[in-house]
Amino acid sequence: MQQVAEVKPCAAVQAIGERTFADLLSPLIEPGFRLALAMLHDPQAAEDAVQEASFTAWRKLARMQDQGKLRPWFLGVVANKCRNARRKKWFAGVSLGLPDHLSVVSPEDRTLRGADLRRAVSRLRHADRLVVVLYFYLDMPLEDVAAVAGSSVGATRARLYRSIKRLRPDLSIQEALR
């Protein structure tokens, strides 16, 4: 049996250094937060997800052979944290997305449309929602979206098209992609 009183930081991560870690991670926090926000629709939960992803990055950054892949990797970690956050909410019986009555009581058409779109996005499955958010909200090219989603470009494109049809059945793919 083994007893460990305190977990020590990974030696490899220590080798990277706090300043380097901050320099590498800081530019990724905002896109990570926007991704989490669009996935979770809850600013506090989004920040929690990014924070957790950043702890993961601290532990694992040194293991990355190619730090050029840091951005898609980090966003992928954020996406996983969002999936876990939604699952925890599901376990706790907390509903997700905006309340249904919001679009009814709001007087402003733009707010109505935004609320409806957020609700529609929240009802997509995790993998579909991730692709939609990365492509339409983070404005990432399809190749990068595929890297974050851990899928091929072709499969990601097909998933994106299917998701568009679910979000806007009346819209052609070409119109939606503009």
Partner: protein
Amino acid sequence: MSLRRDTHSAFDEIAPSMAGLSERVVQTVLTENSSRQRRKRLMFRVRGPLSLVAVFALIAMAGAVLIGGRMIHDWNLFHNSAPVGDSYQSQVAQLEAVPLHLPVFASQLDCKSGPFNSVGSLGSGPVYGDGGVQSQSTWGVYFSIVAYADTGVAGPILVRARDLFTGQPVVFVGQYAAGPVVGSDTFDGHTYDQHAELLLNTSTSDKQAVSHKFVWRFVSEVPTSW
């Protein structure tokens, strides 16, 4: 308005100011990391013959991993060799005799969570898992797990798990813990035997008639020496 503009508008409406966010997040990592418990990347392996119910599933908790191809291969091998009509105990013994072959990952980039089913549970079926509450003891971290399977499943399901980076075995305590006792741990005033295996049986599950599923709730533990 395009879908892209609509999406920006819809989410920018609910986005708070991000001023200072990067600094806050990074600083929190640097100041709190040493006091945090590392997450474990775990993998469970679930096997059994189809006549018994052969199942493979790698259920992982907190950054878990699932590797399918090798498991399918092993599962098929086992399924083809499973004699019909054996007693339950002999079926279990056959399952235990199958060696646990797992890959070792050097880089986190090679190690991806999944696959997940349509409701977000881990596994490719017919058994799926969801991670739950974590608790810390001096020995390791306890994970409360829920596994479930469709009611078409029958027979024993053997679960073994190992950390894919350290190779250290994951242990099980409580009702469904099985196999050799490999240690013990005291948690919340109680001492628990740690077993190397988990044995799930459809006859001992918490069958949920409404959802037509077998459900098992169990606890696994991972050492903190990662």
